[in-house]
């Protein structure tokens, strides 16, 4: 067999491999707990909503669309919003979520409230099904940019991180080990289908967490607040990769006539100063200053050191809506 024929056969095999993987992915899209049911619920009612919130658990348990809509209605800027936030969702996953929403072509969608937080680091990425799920081409591009950025400071870590992202991308594209999930989807026994509770009591994607704060969380909150008050928090430099991804997202949405509003929840953790990652000129609503928003940092407004309880969420949603009305005028 000539070398050209060998090469041609290899190309044919590779093409068949890629085509089959794509066909499988298209026929049986990957489903993951928490993310898929929310997206599916939203997709079925996509034209009802004009506003969505995307972010992590701080948004999931902290922003009530019902109160947000009531507040905007009272200000004659009526909205119909949905909370698409999911536990642990940060860039680039949250960026992917925003693109997924846009790809659904919701007719009435006018604005996306997007939580700014640090990008997900490789140490948080444990090769779970969820991690595999969001490793699409955009995530790989994000990882490649991050590699180029981190390479100057720590080559070893940069390579390790890129390798993890590439493996997850390969796992995603090649449908590695998805047989059980596909079988569950076909049988209708997939856990992703059976979790309406996570959509919250008002079925608007907001899940209040009413349980009281534990003592260890109280101590942690007090310590965090002390650090913030004394200014003992390392000032961060702008994260170029995150900044770039958010800018692209903002530009892309603007081209489709959708306004993006970046916001920062009353956090005590790593996202302090995250607003510096926001694209230049984009509206940023920051609530992470305990001096300016002391109520959100009270223990009776939180169920743990970083998350608001229903009472805190109610106040935060109301304030967010008021600020949004001002910004979007």
């Amino acid at each position: 067999m000539s070398r050209i024929r060998v090469l041609l056969n290899c190309i044919v095999a590779l093409a068949a491999f890629v085509a089959t993987c794509a066909a499988i992915r298209r026929a049986v899209p990957m489903e993951v707990e928490e993310v898929t049911p929310k997206l599916a619920f939203f997709s079925a009612r996509k034209d009802q909503f004009d506003t969505v919130f995307i972010g992590s658990s701080r948004v999931y348990h902290g922003v009530s669309p019902k109160i947000f809509d009531e507040t905007t209605r009272a200000a004659n800027r009526a909205t119909h919003s949905f909370n698409l936030a999911v536990n642990g969702m940060m860039p680039p996953e949250s960026v992917m979520m925003a693109w997924r929403v846009v790809q659904m072509r919701p007719k009435n969608l006018r604005r996306i409230f997007f939580e700014i937080s640090d990008p997900r680091t490789v140490s948080m990425t444990k090769a779970t099904k969820r991690d595999t799920y969001w490793h699409d081409l955009n995530a790989l591009i994000f990882a490649a940019r991050k590699f180029r950025h981190d390479f100057k400071s720590d080559r070893g870590a940069a390579f390790a991180e890129l390798s993890t992202h590439m493996q997850l991308f390969a796992r995603n594209r090649a449908n590695l080990g998805r047989s059980t999930e596909i079988q569950e989807q076909w049988n209708g026994t997939a856990t992703t289908k059976n979790s309406p509770k996570m959509l919250g009591p008002d079925m608007d994607g907001f899940l209040p967490e009413p349980h009281p704060m534990a003592e260890k969380d109280r101590v942690r909150l007090v310590n965090a607040l002390d650090k913030m008050r004394t200014g003992d928090v390392p000032k961060r430099e702008v994260n170029d990769v995150n900044h770039d991804a958010l800018t692209r997202l903002g530009d892309g949405l603007a081209r489709r006539g959708i306004a993006i509003v970046f916001f920062i929840t009353p956090t005590t953790t790593r996202d302090y100063n995250a607003k510096i990652d926001a694209p230049v000129g984009a509206p940023v609503l920051a609530f992470d200053d305990p001096q300016e928003f002391p109520d959100f940092y009270r223990t009776d407004h939180r169920f743990d050191y970083d998350h608001l309880n229903p009472r805190g969420a109610e106040e935060f949603s109301r304030l967010l809506a008021q600020r949004a009305v001002e910004v979007l005028k």
Partner: protein, 509 residues
């Protein structure tokens, strides 16, 4: 580094491309030898960067356990090279015998130390306790090096062949070292004979002449499916049952045992298929190791089809050395039993393995006696050690009703024996046997009975393969159809691979 892991594919792509780009045969063998030792070292050194940082800092205590095992392999190779030359240069029989004894003593000494030292010590202690002499015999913390049973047998086959004058001693150290360490067969066989492999090292392998690409690719894929998709998928059910058999019903006992038979076959023959295919892609042919053993019509036939490289090794170097069938009937039966008992012990240092071997030995004796009394009408042709895979791609004959009954009975017996192989101890084996054979001592829990349908489906596919239905298809397909089918099949197979692999069962032996 397992054959099913992503890093193996990276390693093999590197080895494959460099090997075929080298023009000189010596350079290729040297390169493959270095790669084989690196492959072997990967099992012991842990993180390479960390390992070398400990070496450079002389922090010997921080090195992982067994980091020096690759040196045992190198030592064994050097010893066999010297013994081979010694055997050839010795003028009288006594000296030749002495050289052979040196080889056997060292090879078996290494094997006994790593594998059987604690077993013999514990057994001796138990025996002394039983006769009332209580002593304190302390066992040592010994880790078994991967593949020691396989490469020891392989190197012993070389010295015995030279001793028996079946071949000349190997003059090239490189060739001998390459034969012993060649990475596809190093860790879990097949146990390749010197007379099968060494002649292949003498000439430069030619891609177009020596490599059946299509055959090798299909064989690798088959092995991958067996291990990654089947063995790994059934393992949880098997583990669930064998962990607490007393909790399960008799039907679950059947499911557990049947699926263990599936698991061990797919795991081991899958590994062998991948090993043979890997070697074939590098231009070398290894020995056939499996030929549809569960379609065997009797236990003698089973041993001609199961782990062929070991059974023929035991036949040629142990059974024949013990006298074979060159004596009375009782003498022959004694040899058969001894061979199988030692074969059982080869698998592991535990009494359950000895019993497993003993049961097979007894069955061989019974079958031989049956043939003697009622005639040997259906004697099957022997599968010899150096037959290549291509030769067994010929369609197997249909079984017929009598054949199906005989195969079912043989399979049932083999499954009973597997109980001893899998059960951790004799007590548990006894309990499972009562469930499996007598339907007694059962519990309330049940494994999913739909698994029996899966078993039937696997058996059907296996039968189609036995009849070479698939072989006919992929052999006849045009190149581009084969390439497209292969690519699509790989994509489908990847759906079934597990998140994490368990090591091959035979690695522990």
């Amino acid at each position: 580094m397992l054959f099913v892991e992503f890093r193996f594919f990276i390693f093999f792509a590197f080895v494959f491309s460099i090997t075929w780009s080298l023009r000189s045969n010596t350079a290729r063998k040297l390169f493959l030898l270095v790669c084989s030792h690196l492959f072997y070292a990967c099992f012991f050194v842990g993180e390479p960067v960390e390992f070398f940082s400990h070496i450079t800092a002389h922090q010997w205590k921080k090195l992982p356990d067994g980091w020096w095992f690759p040196f045992v392999l190198i030592g064994s190779t050097c010893m066999d090279y010297i013994v081979g030359l010694g055997l050839e240069n010795a003028r009288d029989e006594r000296k030749r015998r002495a050289w052979l004894l040196v080889s056997l003593a060292i090879n078996l000494g290494v094997l006994c130390y790593f594998k059987y030292f604690n077993f013999f010590l514990a057994s001796a202690s138990a025996f002394l306790g039983w006769i009332g002499l209580h002593g304190s015999l302390h066992t040592l913390r010994i880790i078994l090096p991967y593949g020691v049973s396989f490469y020891t047998f392989q190197s012993m086959s070389y010295t015995i062949e030279v001793y028996r004058r079946h071949r000349q001693a190997e003059r090239s150290f490189l060739d001998l070292a390459f034969f012993i360490a060649f990475f596809p067969q190093l860790v879990a066989g097949p146990i390749v004979r010197a007379m099968t492999f060494l002649p292949q090292t003498k000439s430069t392998r030619v891609w177009s002449r020596d490599v059946d690409v299509r055959g090798a690719l299909v064989q690798f894929m088959t092995g991958f499916v067996k291990k990654a998709c089947i063995a790994e998928s059934v393992a949880p059910f098997v583990d669930q049952y064998f962990k607490t058999p007393e909790n399960f019903t008799a039907l679950s006992a059947w499911i557990g045992v049947l699926f263990y038979a599936v698991q061990i076959y797919c795991d081991f023959s899958g590994y062998t298929d991948m090993a043979i295919a890997t070697a074939r892609l590098l231009g070398y042919e290894l020995t056939v190791n499996f030929n549809f053993p569960y379609f065997a019509r009797n236990v003698t036939d089973f041993w001609r089809r199961w782990h062929i490289s070991l059974s023929t090794w035991l036949r040629d170097y142990l059974y024949i050395s013990l006298g074979g069938n060159r004596g009375s009937l009782l003498f022959t039966y004694r040899n058969l039993l001894l061979t199988m008992l030692l074969g059982g012990l080869w698998h592991g240092a535990a009494w359950v393995f000895v019993i497993w071997g003993g049961l097979h030995g007894l069955a061989l004796v019974v079958h031989r006696e049956w043939l003697r009394r009622f005639g040997a009408i259906h004697r099957k042709p022997k599968v010899v050690a150096d037959e290549h895979v291509r030769d067994v791609e010929i369609a197997n004959p249909a079984l017929g009703l009598k054949g199906i009954l005989a195969s079912a009975l043989t399979f049932y017996f083999v499954c009973v024996c597997w109980i001893f192989f899998r059960a951790g101890d004799l007590h548990m084996a006894k309990r499972i046997c009562k469930q499996f054979i007598l339907f007694r001592h059962t519990g309330p829990q049940s494994l999913d009975t739909r698994l029996l349908w899966l078993f039937a489906a696997l058996a059907f596919v296996h039968w189609l393969n036995y009849r070479r239905i698939f072989t006919k298809l992929w052999r006849r397909a045009p190149d581009f159809v084969f390439a497209a089918g292969y690519g699509a099949a790989v994509a489908a197979i990847l759906l079934f691979i597990p998140q994490k692999y368990t090591p091959f069962i035979y690695f522990q032996f």
